[in-house]
């Protein structure tokens, strides 16, 4: 019999990554009532921008580039993790501008618009970088393998899961413990009152959308060394993302996190026994849970409710 523990660990690490990917999507859905189908393409864009920045031809003027490339890879990687999402955030702001016309109307507008935006961004990626596979460089310290319990494990995977947990924690802190988070939550609950309180609602929405986009981008950079970089990688992100959201319950932070881990475990465990079906397992999980608990695990009644 196969020892199941390694596969459980694999599933947990995978689950944290799914939770991270879903996080940006969850913020926009739960706090802005907009379905952002462009999440996947923004995720991919984050990976590409990160790869380009770390690579031999960073997109900056020549003298800066020389200084940049002289830095050790570890420093460059850490800085890219912060800078690249900001770049992608600008693209996110563009998408949000286009979406402005659709506020007040129903989420379908957002759904369709972001579906179109997703196609446009993916094609733009294909035009700019071509269709070949790229590899994101990763510092030596977090790559390679280590031995534990007689098996070799991938160091990077554990690092990725770790940093995903850290980022999830940071987001939680921002939302729960800072005044900005309070404003965001209030805006989701009742935008009229928030406006009545004198807060600029459209700026708030822009900020939340950019925040969600940056999370998508950072997830892209972190997951890229595991999944590889191709133009189509966005689809691998957006489908699990909305699956995790529906499973966890729209508008619930812990719902998204626990659903992400649950999905990761399902995929990891079926990977142990019937690897071809591991993809299918997450959809079946979705159908099973939503049939019995229509709002998902922790869902609250939201405007998306039907």
């Amino acid at each position: 019999m196969i020892d199941i523990l390694p596969h459980i660990l694999n599933g947990l690490t995978l689950g944290l990554l799914f939770a991270l990917i879903a996080l940006g999507f969850m913020l926009i859905v739960g706090l802005m009532e907009q379905i952002n189908l462009a999440h996947g393409s923004l995720f991919a864009l984050g990976a590409y921008v990160g790869m380009q920045m770390l690579g031999p031809r960073p997109p900056m003027p020549a003298d800066w580039a020389a200084a940049w490339l002289a830095l050790p890879l570890g420093w460059r990687y850490a800085l890219t993790l912060v800078i690249a999402p900001c770049v992608v955030g600008v693209v996110g702001a563009l998408v949000e501008f286009c979406m402005r016309r659709t506020y007040g109307k129903d989420p379908l507008y957002g759904l369709l618009l972001t579906f179109g935006a997703a196609m446009v961004i993916e094609e733009a990626i294909r035009l700019t970088w071509g269709t070949r596979d790229y590899v994101l460089q990763v510092p030596q310290a977090i790559s390679g393998g280590f031995i534990f319990q007689d098996l070799i494990w991938s160091t990077y995977r554990f690092y990725a899961a770790g940093i995903a947990a850290v980022i999830i924690g940071l987001v939680w802190l921002v939302i729960e413990k800072t005044p900005y988070g309070a404003i965001i939550k209030a805006g989701a609950h009742d935008s009229e009152i928030v406006r009545a309180l004198g807060i600029n609602l459209s700026r708030l929405r822009l900020a939340v959308f950019i925040f969600g986009t940056m999370l998508a981008a950072v997830a892209g950079i972190i997951v890229a060394p595991i999944w590889g970089i191709r133009p189509h990688m966005g689809v691998d992100a957006v489908v699990p993302a909305f699956l995790v959201i529906v499973l966890g319950g729209v508008g619930s932070f812990w719902g998204a996190v626990s659903a992400g881990i649950l999905v990761g475990l399902a995929v990891g465990l079926t990977g142990a026994y019937a690897s071809e079906w591991s993809l299918l397992s997450m959809y079946i999980l979705l159908v099973a849970i939503v049939t019995f608990r229509a709002r998902g695990l922790f869902g609250k009644k939201s405007v998306l409710e039907a």
Binding site: D106, L111, A117, E305, A306
Partner: protein, 345 residues
Amino acid sequence: MNGTAPNSPDAARLITPTMLVVWLGLATIPLWISQIGLYPYLGIEILIWSIYALSFNLVLGTAGLPSFGHGVFFGVGAYAFGLAQFNVSSSLWICLTLAMLAAALAGVFVALFISHRRGIYYAFMTIAFGQIFWTIAIKWHSVTGGEDGLLKIERLPADLGFVSFDLKNNASFYYFVLAVFIVIVIALWRLTHSPYGRILSAIRQSETRAAHLGYRVWLYKASVFTISAGMSGLAGGLFAMAQLAAFPDVMSLHQSGYIVMMTLVGGGLVSFWGPIVGVVTFLVARDVIGAMTSAWMLWFGLLFIAIVLFKPEGIAGAFRSVVDGGKARAKRAEGVSALRLLFRS
């Protein structure tokens, strides 16, 4: 409901003048399609996808249900046709009927899970089921051939008892598909303009109100979904004959999204003929622009965004407002409200 006012004389007819014009136009296509730089196979694709889009619009435009996973039924029809041909019968009619039934069965199955939902959750579930069926199609090698597809499907002869047409070359197959198209158009026209269709419209406008009037909303939603699935399956069977194979791609999220895009861009929300306009635009653009650049989807995507933002009545709607004497604002309002109604709580 799409475009035609219930009191207009067209709504009561079996065959309207617009239909005749459209059919005549389509019948002449094989004569001039090569001259304009296209080819007969593209004409076949356009007709088949038009059947698919019209069936899809039954759900989206008439009943107001946002289905983002309709590719499943198109694909199931294609596979069922091939499997029927290999295992059951070599009669064209039986295989097409089985394709329709298999897709309708899949439709009933999905409808059971989703018909009590509305709006975004409805869309979510259709996407989830779309992914489930797509994954099954790819995995279930022994039945579907997996990613390589179900190959060696043949174009069975159209045997009417007293005469039999060989459909192997593209032109004769085109006319066969046109014949099916004509039947489907008549059926869908009658369906949307019948009392059943009016109730669907009522449901689209307000489920609560329809329920209070005593209609069993769940039953109507489930039945229209099933009918649409079956007709999409019929289109799928025809597509299997066109390609001589059935592939799983049509069930993917992307391709299910394409049919939504085509229907919307063409103006399916306000016009019966909108989906056809959308299909023609999409397929011709893909062929012509795709030959020049591989980034044609970039431009089509931008067009789609522009239409969603500024012209939800689509191409057909805009055309009609011009024809109806410049009632552009009214048409746009119709388009906007139709779009809004898709997701009303």
